[in-house]
């Protein structure tokens, strides 16, 4: 799979790791804010990717298509 796939995979794994840490009994109160911030950031990035992938990936595909135009139509 391509680059983006790894991004999703790594993100969700990190998010779930943070959740597990936060749900542990004796989390250090000092790191809570930091962890929440990191998780929220990752979630936002993923959500944006889910909704906005079309433009990004379309762009990538168009570049690719320009390199080799076949008989099939990109759209």
């Amino acid at each position: 799979m391509g680059k983006r796939e790894t991004g999703y995979k790594e993100a969700i794994e990190e998010i779930e790791r943070i959740v597990a840490e936060l749900e542990a009994e004796n989390i250090d109160v000092d790191v809570i804010a930091e962890k929440v911030k990191r998780a929220t950031h990752l979630i936002t990035v993923c959500k944006n990717k889910l909704k906005g992938a079309e433009e990004q990936v379309q762009k990538a595909l168009e570049e690719l298509n320009q390199q080799d135009r076949g008989d099939d139509e990109p759209f």
Partner: protein, 479 residues
């Protein structure tokens, strides 16, 4: 006459029945010769072609009066403009054709036979198909020998197709291909999709519209790799399209194979071994939505996931992305909840600690205060009262109290020491140490000699040890 001579004469246009005479006749014109010959031989064993063929026809018509059921393979099939169907039927042994004949289904019969056949088999008559036909042997003096097909038994073809399909499945299983594509992991987020379909098919439009208008607003990118999706060219065309996708497998998450909206027949390509093997070996998961009502095709069977229609494929893909978003949302909820809980716990612990601290502090302060109060009470009554009163309002009250307490304790201590000394002096041991002793009778110390007679045995305890003695005499004077 040798065979070669015979052929030679035929080529020169001389009738074989023309006898030896006509041989070795030199360079005269052929035309002249033939005229001469006709004149010469009055009873030519010659007949017109139509006569010969007429005779053949009568033999055939007489011999093959009835129609008969014939099993054959279609080697060629075509329709003409008037709706007649022309076929070439063959029988093969391996790759070798061992019998072949032309056959016709006249348009009138063809309409109903074809419809019936397609309904039953889901297929149109095509090359390579095995058929059981009710044939009438006909001989036409112009068109020659052929079979006129009066009926067609679709169940035979279906049986043949099922057998072939079974063999294909067995082969794919034997070669370990049948579940190969299913072994691939579905992408975590299927957003980049290679579509193998026909751009004009309704199914393709259904698929892309459904993806584009998904209710969650997910973004998808797809690229069409166009292919012919049915008929004899489909197998090759789909294979070629798949090959193009495979060359750039890295930039796609999965491949979908969709068609629909076209004819429900002639989907034979989806049962072909080579296409199925290609799908099975494909480096990305293949999702099918071939959109037919028949049983699963072999391509469906080897695909990673088989959906019924292109719309179903789109829904499947959307649900995959939805699964990921659910995981995200779950993470989001749990991060919020657990952070809140952790903070609440911390706050609670802090409050509890504070309460605890306050309690202990109050207790300690209370004890101190009580002690101070008690000390104050005692001191106001004591000689130190004056001192206390003097410093009552000063800030060094406690210090003064402590001092007073210390002094009291010190005084009390001195008294105790004296008392202890006195008590120590009273201890008999100290008396005995100085040379005194205790004499007792029957366990009671003797303090008087009165009543003590001669011979009485008394016991005397010394500082160290004891003795018993027998009384010799006694008196009542002071020692």
């Amino acid at each position: 006459m040798s065979k070669a001579q015979f052929t030679d004469r035929l080529q020169r246009g001389i009738h074989v029945g023309g006898m030896e005479k006509t041989e070795r006749r030199g360079g005269n014109s052929h035309k002249a010769q033939r005229a001469a010959e006709h004149g010469l031989f009055a009873e030519p064993p010659v007949q017109r072609l139509s006569e010969l063929l007429g005779r053949i026809k009568s033999v055939i018509d007489g011999t093959f009066e009835d129609t008969c059921w014939v099993v054959a393979e279609i080697a060629e099939v075509r329709m003409n403009q008037r709706g007649h169907c022309y076929l070439a039927l063959v029988e093969k042994q391996g790759d070798e054709t061992i019998a072949q004949i032309r056959a016709t289904i006249w348009s009138y019969a063809y309409r109903s036979l074809a419809a019936q056949f397609e309904r039953a088999t889901g297929e149109v008559l095509r090359q390579g198909m095995k058929v059981l036909v009710l044939a009438e042997v006909t001989f036409h003096t112009v068109h020659g020998l052929s079979l006129n097909i009066r009926d067609l038994d679709p169940s035979y073809t279906m049986g043949e197709m099922a057998r072939r399909k079974r063999e294909t499945i067995e082969r794919l299983t034997r070669e370990g291909l049948i579940d190969l594509n299913k072994g691939l992991d579905l992408p975590l987020v299927p957003q980049r999709i290679a579509v193998v379909s026909s751009p004009t098919a309704a199914g393709y439009g259904d698929f892309t519209n459904h993806l584009r208008n998904n209710p969650y607003g997910y973004g998808f990118s797809f690229r069409l790799f166009s292919a012919v999706m049915q008929g004899p060219e489909a197998e090759h065309s789909i294979g070629a399209a798949l090959g193009k996708v495979a060359a750039r497998a890295g930039i796609y998450d999965l491949v979908v194979l969709v068609r629909g909206g076209g004819s429900q027949v002639d989907l034979n390509c989806f049962d072909s071994y080579s296409l199925a093997a290609e799908v099975a070996r494909f480096p990305l998961p293949v999702i099918t939505g071939i959109g037919h009502d028949r049983d699963e095709t072999v391509v469906d069977m080897v695909a990673h996931t088989r959906c019924k229609t292109p719309t179903d494929v789109a829904q499947f893909i959307i649900s995959g992305v939805r699964d990921f978003e659910e995981r995200l949302l779950d993470g989001q909820r749990r991060v919020g909840r657990s952070a809140e809980r952790a903070l609440r716990e911390q706050r609670h612990r802090l409050t509890a600690a504070l309460k605890d601290f306050r309690h202990h502090a109050m207790q300690s302060l209370g004890a101190v205060r009580r002690r101070l109060d008690a000390a104050q009470l005692r001191l106001t009554a004591a000689p130190g009262a004056a001192l206390l009163r003097k410093t009552d309002e000063s800030r060094s009250l406690q210090k003064d109290i402590e001092k007073a307490v210390k002094e009291t304790v010190l005084r009390q201590g001195t008294r105790l020491e004296k008392l202890e000394q006195a008590v120590r002096h009273l201890d008999p041991v100290n008396v005995l140490r100085r040379g005194y002793s205790i004499t007792s009778l029957g366990g009671r110390p003797l303090v008087s000699a009165e009543g003590i007679k001669k011979g009485t045995v008394v016991r005397t305890v010394l500082y160290r040890g004891w003795i018993t003695s027998t009384v010799e005499e006694s008196g009542d004077g002071q020692a």
